[in-house]
Amino acid sequence: MLKDLDPAATTDAAPAPAGIASAEAATEVQEYLARQNSKDLLRFITCGSVDDGKSTLIGRLLYDCKCLFEDQLASLETDSTRFGTTGAGQLDLALLVDGLAAEREQGITIDVAYRFFTTDRRKFIVADTPGHEQYTRNMVTGASTADAAVLLVDARKGVLTQTRRHSTIVSLLGVRHVVLAVNKMDAVGWDRETFERIAADYRVFAQRIGIAEVTCIPVSALTGDNVTKPSQSMGWYGGPTLLGHLESVDAAAQETLGSFRMAVQWVNRPNQDFRGFAGTVVGGAVRVGDAVAILPGGRTTRVARIVTLDGDLELAVPGRAVTLVLADEVDASRGDMIVAADGRPEVADQFAAHVVWMDEQPLLPGRSYLLRAGTATVGAQVTELKHAVNVNTQEHVAAKHLDLNDVGFCNLALDRPIPFDAYADSRDTGSFILIDRLTNATAGCGMIRFPLRRASNIHRHASKLDKAARAGGLQKPAVLWFTGLSGSGKSSVADRLEQELHRLGRRTMILDGDNVRHGLNRDLGFTDEDRVENIRRVAEVAKLMVEAGLIVLVSFISPFREERRMARSLVEDGEFLEIFMDTPLAVCEARDPKGLYKKARAGQLPHFTGIDSAYEPPEAPEITLHGAERTADEMVAQMVEELRRRGVI
């Protein structure tokens, strides 16, 4: 930074009265700021395996670009003595970026660190991302906003599994510029052949996973060779330094889309005379007078005003945050997208996408998640997991679920249609995250490939009769969902209750876990994935029976809260009664009516609920039955009374 200004102007220690230096400072600073503001910004990530020297490399860039202050250098010296791994008297530059106490103690990077530096030509934000496999999701966080990726490999080790994994993620997330920095060249005697062998190896791999262009650079972060200054020790290398290359790659977001889009974030209504839609322009510019459509609805209108605090604009370019006023009184709200009328995105409720899973709980097809795309939040499930991707070889492998850090290619179905583009055309409108409904964790992220049209050819048939008519005034149709451990008494209570309801002249049907598994669900086993699908099918059948006007008694262990929530969501409010058979495991196991606990304890029945598969008890069941303390008749009486109270019978 020093070089941009004349230090002589201010190093004069004598305090001058304010104002004298002010005029020249104003001119000087004004010129400086104009230069600064015309610089563009490159965001890049560094990634690689443990101990490849990523943090050291970033430390080196900051150090060589003179972006460190004296007090930071002083504390670096202290820290180097205390935690350093580079030996006595040497600065351990990695300590500049490893900011968390645990990272400094363990000498590893756990989470992304963002660092800032500026050269004469460009401003940089660098995200230092972790190498450890268990922190891959943090690397994905860094990659999602990066224009370029610097992949480090240790010259002594060559391309490792982690490098391949990171390359796959970089490719999936559409990072355009990839640099392979072959580090620690000092440790291999600056050997040209070593470098060329690793570079050739990597180019073959990169091409296979769809990375079009790779720049390979031999460096030493420790000594600084080819990081910011050309190496004296590697005269055989004729290419750019790492910094030189990063200064020259094209940083402009390559908008292949060309058409305006704006997800509505917030509706601005200060008074009755103003109604504006706030959001960020992406994809293409928008002008006053442009014809726009509001999706997914499809109403069209024109842009009347582009409002900002600094005055109305005639035109807003991509990246700008604006408030649009539309010519007609049209209904638009958060989650809608305002788009160029003549260049519209896809609108669908099903699409195919790559998903990176980032949660400890596996992704299970059929389970319902929340999907955030732009500003829209909708319910979504993976309807088909087509394959997982082996990140080392890019091979497609069959998978029934995705574990933490797995990558898969899936079909997803949403509660309602949303507008989107392919991720390859737009990061802004082709990306989404998946949120766990119970924990609210960001469990996965996805890149949309293409829409699926199947839904549009199947139209719902509206029936003239409704369920109340079908129930014939006898009853209010409902699902009585019995959940509890095997042997808790679900089936016997449900059975007796059905007999009692029948005696009272009500129309009923019973769905029993064991019976359904002999027919409709005979293709399913007892893994978590199959249990989810088992419940999904039964819930759909129960819904049809409610439509038929029946009281449906469902007797299933249904161990997961999320699936019971899903079953509840299929029918209307008040139609779903969750009945918790709260019988302690010890009692169930002592009863063991089918001898299943004995088998499970002997290891002959894997995935048995309560033994080696979890049961998640309901948090707020409508009815709790204490199976160990009440007789079946007492529980039936309790149920009948409850059904009367709720107006079911």
Binding site: M1, L5, P7, A9, T10, T11, P15, A18, S22, A26, E28, V29, Q30, Y32, L33, N37, S38, L41, F69, E70, D71, R82, V97, G99, L100, A101, A102, I110, D111, Y114, R115, F116, N138, V140, T141, S144, T145, Q265, W266, N268, R269, P270, F274, G276, A278, T280, T308, D310, G319, A321, R334, L370, A373, S431, I433, I435, N440, A441, T442, C445
Partner: protein, 323 residues
């Protein structure tokens, strides 16, 4: 002095740097940062029931407030400002705070930890660590709990400090306001997940990607009013442990033989006056401040006595609920 600093007439130099003077095709560096911050603020307004903006009266808060005015124009920002007053702030900060809130017509909540006041907690009697914990961290938690805020904006930047460099833009806090640095939510693209359970909250940092230079450049470009303490003028100071402490009121106990000296000084950061060191400077205008900063050899946090208490002290304080 106050008047020239608070003067919001357009700076003649601003025209050259103003966003719309640039060609249409691409956003400049500051416009990009501005747009990103506005996007984040609107997400918070849309995703939360009861957000609040922490207003510390410093330069970062000034930029934050300016951006909020832009994000929601022609509406006012749909959230109040919250100032946690330790009762040891510079007097000029308090005056400036009240004036800004009145001028902009935004709601200002001032919270003081009355338990701490009753116990007579202060930086001299109890040391900076206890004072900061009770009057700042605990006070902040009290205020957030009392009003049931589910999201709180802060002006922290990733370039300030190492543990800040690791923090998400939407940073999750448990019901007891704790930060779990090793288990942060992944944050992809600009899709911010603000979903929380009752009692939990999110701290939001719209200035994450700004640097100190960006802040001053933007203040200059947009002619944003800042507290006069940032500008040099003769002030009464005493030198202690290498830091220049301003004698802002008569609560500063003078040691034997200590006489306040009148010196040309200014502040690079603002906080509690006994804990904030001044720098010797004659920079009395924004361009002079920017020039001085470009030539500086120490980082802005150096003036903060509280950061130097222990290694990784910021991370520890943040885990406890400090901003």
């Amino acid at each position: 002095m106050l008047d020239t600093v608070l003067d919001t007439r357009p700076d003649p130099t601003a025209a050259l740097l103003a966003p719309d003077a640039l060609p249409d095709a691409r956003l400049g560096h500051l416009q990009r940062l501005e747009a990103e911050s506005i996007h984040i603020m609107r997400e918070v307004a849309a995703q939360f029931h009861n957000p609040v903006m922490l207003y510390s009266v410093g330069k970062d808060s000034a930029v934050l407030l300016h951006l909020a005015m832009k994000a929601f124009h022609p509406s006012k920002p749909p959230f109040p400002l919250l100032h946690v007053d330790t009762t040891w702030k510079f007097r000029e900060m308090i005056a400036f705070r009240d004036r800004m809130a009145a001028d902009l017509g935004v709601e200002l909540i001032v919270h003081i930890n009355q338990d701490g006041v009753r116990q007579g907690i202060g930086p001299f009697s109890h040391g900076s660590a206890v004072h900061t914990d009770v009057m700042k961290t605990q006070a902040l938690k009290q205020a957030l709990d009392r009003h049931g805020f589910d999201a709180a904006f802060g002006g922290a930047r990733r370039d300030e400090e190492k543990s800040r460099a690791k923090e998400r833009i939407f940073s999750f806090r448990t019901a007891s306001h704790r930060w779990e640095p090793k288990n942060q939510r992944p944050e992809l693209w600009n899709l911010y997940n603000g979903r929380i359970h009752k009692g939990e909250s999110i701290r939001v940092f719209p200035l994450s990607n700004w640097t100190e230079l960006d802040i001053w450049q933007y203040i200059h470009q947009e002619a944003i009013p800042v507290v006069p303490l940032y500008f040099a003028k003769p002030r009464p100071v005493v030198e202690r442990d290498g830091a220049l402490i301003m004698v802002d009121d008569d609560r500063l106990p003078l040691k034997p033989g200590e006489t306040p000296e009148i010196a040309w000084v200014r502040f690079r950061t603002l906080g509690c006056y006994p804990l904030t060191g001044a720098v010797r400077s004659t920079a009395a205008t924004l361009p002079e401040i920017i020039r001085e900063m470009l030539l500086a050899t120490s980082s802005e946090r150096q003036g903060r006595v509280i950061d130097q208490d222990a290694a990784a002290s910021m991370e520890a304080k943040k885990q406890e609920g400090y901003f």
